[in-house]
């Protein structure tokens, strides 16, 4: 497996996280489309910024073999990114339209 595939799996976990978030917090859901889009951007934002601490796709494959612990951490952070972003975007949307 190469880091290209890890980056993609990571985004899929972000999408799952955001849709679960929308399902749990029904007042904050953005709908299937909105949740999915938020999940993608949340995942990318979290992994691109926090991944610098050593669990980005490149670090996971640094030795040539898959570092399983870092991989799980990457997926967890990506999932969390998607989960949180739905709530943040909902708040942003409410603020922007509150005139």
């Amino acid at each position: 497996m190469t880091d290209t595939l890890i980056s993609l799996i990571s985004i899929v976990f972000g999408i799952i996280g955001s849709n679960i978030s929308g399902y749990i917090f029904k007042t904050h859901t953005l709908g299937l489309i909105g949740n999915t889009i938020s999940g993608v951007f949340g995942s990318i934002f979290f992994i691109k910024s926090l991944g610098q601490f050593g669990f980005g796709p490149k670090s996971i494959m640094q030795s040539g073999d898959l570092h399983f612990g870092l991989f799980i951490l990457n997926l967890f952070i990506s999932f969390t990114g998607g989960f949180i972003t739905v709530i943040l975007i909902h708040k942003l949307k409410t603020m922007m339209n509150h005139r």
């Binding site: 497996m1 190469t2 880091d3 290209t4 595939l5 980056s7 993609l8 799996i9 985004i11 899929v12 999408i15 299937l32 489309i33 999915t36 889009i37 993608v40 951007f41 990318i44 796709p57 490149k58 040539g64 942003l92 949307k93 922007m96 339209n97 005139r99």
Partner: protein
Amino acid sequence: MEDMIFYDRLQFAFTITFHYIFPQLTMGLSLIIVYFKGKYLINKTEKYNDIAKFLMKIFAVNFTMGVITGIPMEFQFGTNWAKFSELTGSIIGQTLAMEGMFSFFLESSFLALFIFGEKLMGQKLHFLTGFLVFLGSWGSGWFILATNAWMQHPVGYEILDNGKFVLDNFSSLFSNPWLLPAFLHNQFASVTTSSFVISSIGAFYILRDKNLDYGKLLLKTGVVFGLVSSILLAFPTGDWNAKNVAKYQPASFAAMEGIFETEEAGAEIVLIGQPNMVEKKLDNKIAVPNILSFLTYQKWDKQIPGMDKFKKEELPDNIPALYYSYHIMVGLGTIFIGVMGMSVFFLWRRKLFNLKPLLWTIMFLVPFPYIANITGWYVAELGRQPYLVYGLLKTSEGVSPTVSSGNTLFTLLGFVAIYLLLGLLFLILVGKTIHQGPKPQIH
């Protein structure tokens, strides 16, 4: 080594093909959204605004899928094409970074404002955000095409003793004679795809007797945009590109046109025929004499070098794929002009909305602009072979020496599985948006 190059190329071809399904729609759609929003600003008819917001939802889903599938592209430069990145990074890195910093950020920031900020900003600023999304998406196309143009026709570079390419003239990246025609051709192709997409949504609504007002407006706008863009695709942009290939990549030109042997005077244009690589000829050929010479050089008897004039190592390595891609692209482009021309004619005669066979045709033609766009890119990429940077760096010299073919194959299989999943998700999301249709503004 051969295996490694094959799988690296296969993976890149697969991922870029899937990726390009999305940006080709966003680039064209952004122009159409600006048109609808502008119309609303001018005549204050609500349905134009409703359609602009409806199309922006489709845009957002496409844009997101483009982002997801674009991430692996970035990684592949490092994993599969490390040598290429190392040697040319100081040149292609400039345009790729500009794409991210200027265009992608512009597009994504203002996309969010367009979707959420209408009430906050008012209509004029809302139009401006839509325009900036358009600018960002076309800017992305410009910078990516500038990268590709440099690979097709390298300019303004210097090669150091260690084999690395460095830029000695920054502005030449953007004044590259390959860039403008390629960019315009690519953008009009995107507008054609978007025109077919909105026309087919319009045709779908009319056939289902649903959202009729919106359906008619989408169809009407789609066919007019479609006719103009498909004509501009053929002439002048397609013609301009072909002349560039003839001038800068004559071996590729001979291969894509299927010219195995140089004719004494005046080259024929091949309409149909199958390349026979054993006997070095076209089987079952239907061709029109001298037309290719006239179209390329405006001289009926101008000689055009065939593949027999080039060494084997100068010719593209997959001539049948290049030849078929080119002929599929050109053939489909001709069909688009015909269908859109007919649609505009019946629109003018006020019969279009009742012509069911034509509405069904428009609806089912949707995949074909995508196929034409992708085969067009195959022509550019297969035509550049066996080089990564034309005439200077061979494809075999650009791969990563340490990534095994087994590793790439496993990753490729993973991509296939995940892209199937993402493709399904995309269809569900877009299908849901179309099913809901444009929503009238509630005051």
